[in-house]
Each structure stands twice: as structure tokens, then as C-alpha cells.
Amino acid sequence: MIYLDNSATTKPYTEVLTSFEQVSQKFYGNPSSIHDLGIEAEKLFLKARKQAAQLLGITSNEIVFNSGGTEGNNTAIKGIALAHQNRGNHIITSQIEHPSVLEACRSLESLGFDITYLPVNKNGVVSVSDVEKAITDKTILLSIMHVNNELGTIQPIEEIGKVAKRYPKLFFHVDHVQGFGKVDLQLKDSGIDLCTISGHKIHGLKGTGLLYIKRGTKIFPLLHGGDQEMGYRSGTENLAGVVSLVKALRLTIERQQADLKRLEVRMEKLRQQLTTIDGVVINTPPQHAPHILNISVPGFKPEVIIHALGEKNIFISTKSACSSKTPDESAVLNACAIKPELSKSALRISLSYDTTEHDIAVFCQALKEVKDQLSKVMG
């Protein structure tokens, strides 16, 4: 099996599963209980929190553990909007955000918020000056993703952070779900106030994730209850999930340090080999994250190609899995002014640190065969 759909989700690391199982069995106490089982659980919980903070270069109480990317993005956006609506009702985001950002923003429109959806240029990148121009004295939130999930383009978060710093009235949220472990992002002193990270995109488990909330940032929680997670997110702590997430964070960072160069080489190989196949167009601009490549085979329905590859045990995807149920053109690709013909037939290949050169060669060969076969049938 060759799995090249790592931006949809990843295979959990064995170590992550082991930790999850052990914690579930041994530390099932509720960290808020005051008996010994609870205390042991809390000790582990505090340690996990501390390690996560060290790995991210922030402090322990700036981390809110949650269920993943969708929750992180919703909490950040709705949480800021509801807590600070007395200051203003304007939110700035981009046209290429993940549905959990875009739909959260749309839901706020129905409550009377005013949303600016910034366009991107041909290279799929938001312009920093557009961001600054869009800011008004009613702007309370800026939400821009780091690495785009469909194209793999990288947004200029560092520069936008510098702009954000000059507007103390607004908060800056970054969706870092696709970027973590692949493209570095500094949180501390960066101008970033909130940052979403998801577990299952980095070989952790589904239903785990965290939201960085910079010290002193007030949000309106989505979940009220027992005031866990400093009141930002009530609900009994998912200790096994949290420990597995923190382990995934650590392992991913270690893999990044050891293997990033290798991943970049693989991506380069993939690009090269794809350009030798007739009729394959690469949609991802030259500057991009080392693990995502978007291509089109114009004239062929992407689903057909995916199914044909699936028969050969090779797995890739159309657009983002989260929006692949809505048909036809990719909104992200359209926003990048990619021709409808290409945007209709887009395919996404996403690698992991475990992808081998052999995987890539086999995939390219298979794609070529599938294409030839299909053109005979369809031609």
C-alpha cells in the first residue's frame, strides 16, 4: 500500500498508540478528582502540558487541549468574536482557508459580523499589504492559515504578525494544522495570539488537538461546564488523548529535525517525475510546503483517477477531504485563479516523513499507466 493522503489524515505512530493504551489503562482517574488516582492522572497531565509548552516555546497555561483543528478554529474565531464584539464587528480572513474557518466566519455573518475574505495572488499567497489595508478600527480578528491544505502554499505569517503587532486592538489567529512539523512557525513574540494544531495530521489520534491562546487573551468559550482548561474548554480532560498528542508533537519535531531535507528531496523528485508525464499539470506554485502537491490531469474526472489508483493500492485525494463532498471546482484553486478546467480535475498528493523514494516512483508509474488506460477507454 502506498499512502499519499497525509494531509487528510496520517497513520498514528506506534509509540503514540502505546502511550494512549497505557494511559487509558493505568491513568483512568479524573485529573480533577482529589483521590490518589486523580492525583496521578493530574501529575501526568501537568507534565504533558509542560512538555507541550516546551516543544512549542510557550508557557503551560497558554495551551488549551481540545478535539482538533475544527474545534480549535471555531473556538478561536467565535470565541474572539463573541468576547470582543463590543470593540468591533469586523473580521479579516482569506478565501483559501479551511472550511472550519470559512464556515465559522459565515456563521458569524448571520449574527451581524462583517467579514472580509481576502483574495490571494497567482501563487496562492495573501498579500501582506492587502491585510493591512483591510484593517479598520472595527477589526477585532485576523485569521490566516499557515500552510494551505489543498495547494501547500505558505502564507507570510511572520510578516502578517508584525502588522498585527501594530494594531493592539485586533487578535491574530493562525490555522497551523497543515504546517506543524513541516514548516516552522514561531509563536512567542510573533504577534500571533491564537494558533490551531491538530493531532491526527501529525501521526497522533483523531479527536486530539490544541489551541494556543496567548496569555491575557480573552475568549468566549464554546463549551461551558466544569471550568477545565482554565475555563476555556470545559469537559473532563482526555488524558490519554492529551498524552498521545504531546508524544506525537515530540516525535514529529524529531522527525522534522532529522528528515526535513530528505522530504524536500522526495518532493522535488515527485515534481520532476510528474513533469515527464504528458497531460499532467502541476497546480502548486514553485514555493510551497515540502509535503503537499496539487496536480491536474485535465479531461479526466479526478474521482475516476483516484479509484483507478485505489485498485493498485495507492491512495491520494481530490481536494481537501473536508470539502470533497461538495462537487466540482475547488474554491481554493479558483481563488488562486487556476483555470476551471484544471480546478475541476485537481488531485492532491501529500507525503509524510515515511514516504520513500520507491513510493514516489511507483505512484508516478501507476499514474502514467492509469492515464494511458483511461484515455484508451475514453478516447
Binding site: S19, I34, I39, E42, K43, L44, A48, T59, V246, K247
Partner: protein, 399 residues
């Protein structure tokens, strides 16, 4: 060319005539222990400073490691080169190019080795000229430069440094004996411990634990605080005193207004006994004049009656804000504010005497025979040793 050394400058050690050697040895030991994970580095100590040979390690990471070590006045990354004009020029240029956010500079040459053919003053100008000629946008400012390039020509080699990083100051931990710190779990006592450590004192802690009135969490909190303090010294021993029985007796037998004072006196008696046994010559508390009922002048007088060991009170004259600032700086604040009861808060009387009298306390105490319970309590003390590397191996594996 790169920064290949760290120069560590001693603080007050330089002043301490006869003890000097002991101080520098201790500091060397403390630095070596802290840098143990970096197996590549080599440390050389001399009379007035220490040289850390980096062997490829990142200078800023190594200096970061050393910022908590008492006895260090300042540190600089340095380039070591032979005493040759051209190479020194090159190194000075490297140092200037490496600096960020500087527009003006100044060169200071110190020629310890008088055999070097060019005089300090003249070499100053030569180097300044060389730097100006080979860079863009810098000007010389001899009064308030953004960056100062130091060139020190010593017997065997020349060291070029620029930025100075301030050290923690103080004296090397372990050079001024040991103290027994009354560690409650609050904000003040860890800060008091830190400040005594700053003066070279090694700290052991004593904690009064009253299960089931106080939870395991309160004890864990104290262990975590001690763990945090090990960043400034090597290890911290914690003597955990099973205080429940004695506390219940006090609560039952002593008039409400005086129970707090008697409790504090018991703590002092027990602490003194532990100190005596461990060869510790003083006690340290986080007491702060006037802060709460037990910390009035009268109260201190009444409590102090039971021991003639010196009680160090480093926070005595500080404001709460100042204490909190330090506790945040040394990362104990977040641990201290975890909301668990400690033994002082559980049995707090409704109206403690803020001005207890010595003779009255002594009188009330004389009506009860505490001796058996006191001995039993001391018997039951549990000692935990906390080192820089914590012992939670099982938990580490999970993460």
C-alpha cells in the same frame, strides 16, 4: 570563523582573598554539572575567569544554560585566535557582522601580552579603520556605542568578544553552608529559598504535611517547587513532617487565638531538631513583616523564643509585588498558585492573635505535654531527594 568559546566572568568571588580557590572550584563544579549534557564542550578555569571551549555547540544555548548559575557575573561568546594582526582583524570583523540592530560601534583593545608588537591605542585605531572599511552603514561612537568589540591579547592567544550577557550574580551555591528552608507551598517560601541560594547557600527544605486535611497534591506541589529550585543548585532534600496528630492536639488543647502561634513554635522546634541532625546551621523562612497575623513583630518575637538558631528571613522587608515578580522570574509562581490547602490554612483560627505575648504562649503550652507526640512526629519524617533530573521516568516514557 565562528564563536568557539564562552568567557565566564566571576562576580564577587574575585574579592574573596583566601577562599577564592574554594569558590572557583565550586563554580567550576556547578557549571560542569549544568553543562554535562553537552559532551563536546571543555571547561578551563583560570584565576579570574572560566573558558568554555564549545567544540561546535551553539554559544547562545550554552549561555542560556548558565544564566541560572550563581557566582557568574557576566558571559560573552568569544572567538579565540592566534596573536596575529590579520587574523585578529578578520575575527573582529566577524564579530561586528554577527551583531544585530547596531549602528555604532567601538573597539577596545587590551594588550596583556606586551610582546604583541602593536600598542593598544594604535591597534584600536587599526581595527576600527579595518571595520569601517569593510562594512556598510556603521559609524564609530566611543561614548555610547550600540556594540563594543573587545579584543584581549593574552599570552597564548587573543579573544574577541562583543555582547555581554549578564549572569545571575551572587555566590556559587555550596560555598556558604546549608540552611533549612520552611517550604509551605505558597508564593513566598520558594523565593526565600532562591534568595539564600543566591548567597551561596545550599538549601534543604522542610514541609509540614497534615493528611487527610491536606492532600497529596499539596505535597506534590512542594516537590515541584523544590524541583524548580534545583535549577539554581544541584539537589534539594525535602523533609516531610507528618504533622496531623500534633496539629490536632494543638487545635484541641490550645485556646483558639493562640493555636497559630503554638503551631509555628512547634514547626520551629521540629525544624531545629532536623537542622541539628543534618548539620545545618540556620533556618530560612518566607516571612514578611506585617503580611499576615503570624508575621507581626510580636508574633515573630513569640515564635522565635523556642530556637536560638539564626532564622534567615530574606523577604522580610519586601513588598508582595516584589516577591511575586521574583517568583515569576524563577518559575515558581505558577506552581505556588495551584489551589491546594496547606497545613497553615486548614487549621487557621477564626481570630488569631496578631499580638501574641511570649509568656502567655509559654503558659498555654505548659498545660499540655507535647513531648511524646513531638518525638513521634520527628520519628516519622520522610526525606525525599529531588535532583535536577526528576524521577518521573515512567511518565517520561509515556510522553
Amino acid at each position: 570563523m565562528q564563536y568557539d568559546h564562552i568567557i565566564i566572568r566571576y562576580g564577587e568571588i574575585a574579592l574573596k582573598g583566601k577562599n577564592r580557590k574554594e569558590f572557583t572550584n565550586k563554580l567550576h563544579e556547578n557549571v560542569a554539572r549544568k553543562l554535562k549534557p553537552f559532551s563536546q564542550i571543555k571547561i578551563k578555569k583560570t584565576r579570574d575567569r572560566m573558558y568554555v571551549h564549545l567544540n561546535g555547540e551553539d554559544p547562545s544555548i550554552i549561555m542560556e544554560q548558565c544564566t541560572d548559575i550563581f557566582g557568574i557575573q557576566s558571559m560573552s561568546a568569544a572567538i579565540k585566535v592566534p596573536n596575529e594582526e590579520d587574523i585578529i582583524k578578520e575575527a573582529a570583523l566577524y564579530a561586528l557582522n554577527k551583531t544585530e540592530n547596531a549602528q555604532t560601534f567601538k573597539v577596545t583593545v587590551k594588550r596583556v601580552n606586551k610582546e604583541f608588537p602593536i600598542g593598544s591605542q594604535q591597534f584600536n585605531q587599526v581595527l576600527g579603520g579595518h571595520l569601517l572599511a569593510n562594512t556598510d552603514g556603521y559609524t564609530v561612537d566611543v561614548h555610547q556605542p550600540d556594540i563594543e568589540i573587545h579584543v584581549e591579547i593574552r599570552q597564548d592567544a587573543t579573544f574577541i568578544t562583543s555582547k555581554k550577557v549578564m549572569g545571575a550574580g551572587g555566590l556559587p551555591v555550596g560555598t556558604a553552608g546549608k540552611t533549612l528552608l520552611l517550604l509551605s507551598g505558597g508564593i513566598d517560601s520558594p523565593v526565600a529559598g532562591y534568595l539564600t541560594m543566591k548567597r551561596g547557600v545550599q538549601v534543604e527544605a522542610i514541609h509540614f504535611h497534615s493528611p487527610p486535611y491536606t492532600s497529596e497534591r499539596a505535597k506534590q506541589k512542594v516537590i515541584d517547587l523544590a524541583q524548580q529550585l534545583t535549577a539554581f543548585g544541584n539537589k534539594v532534600k525535602i523533609h516531610v513532617v507528618p504533622f496531623t496528630k500534633l496539629q490536632q492536639t494543638i487545635h484541641r488543647e490550645i485556646p483558639n487565638g493562640y493555636s497559630m502561634t503554638v503551631m509555628r513554635r512547634m514547626m520551629m522546634r521540629i525544624s531545629e531538631r532536623v537542622a541539628e541532625k543534618e548539620n545545618i546551621l540556620s533556618l530560612t523562612t518566607g516571612e514578611n513583616l506585617g503580611q499576615v497575623a503570624s508575621q507581626t513583630m510580636e508574633s515573630m518575637n513569640a515564635i522565635n523564643q523556642v530556637t536560638n538558631y539564626p532564622i534567615l528571613r530574606p523577604l522580610l522587608t519586601m513588598d508582595k509585588d516584589e516577591i511575586i515578580d521574583i517568583s515569576k522570574k524563577i518559575n515558581t509562581y505558577d506552581i505556588s498558585i495551584r489551589p491546594f490547602e496547606d497545613c497553615c490554612t486548614v487549621f487557621v483560627p477564626t481570630a488569631p492573635k496578631t499580638k501574641p505575648k511570649r509568656d502567655k504562649v509559654a503558659y498555654y503550652e505548659s498545660l499540655v505535654d507535647f513531648s511524646a507526640e513531638l518525638e513521634e512526629t520527628i520519628e516519622g519524617i520522610e526525606t525525599i531527594e529531588v535532583t535536577q533530573k526528576s524521577s518521573n521516568d515512567e511518565l517520561d516514557d509515556l510522553l
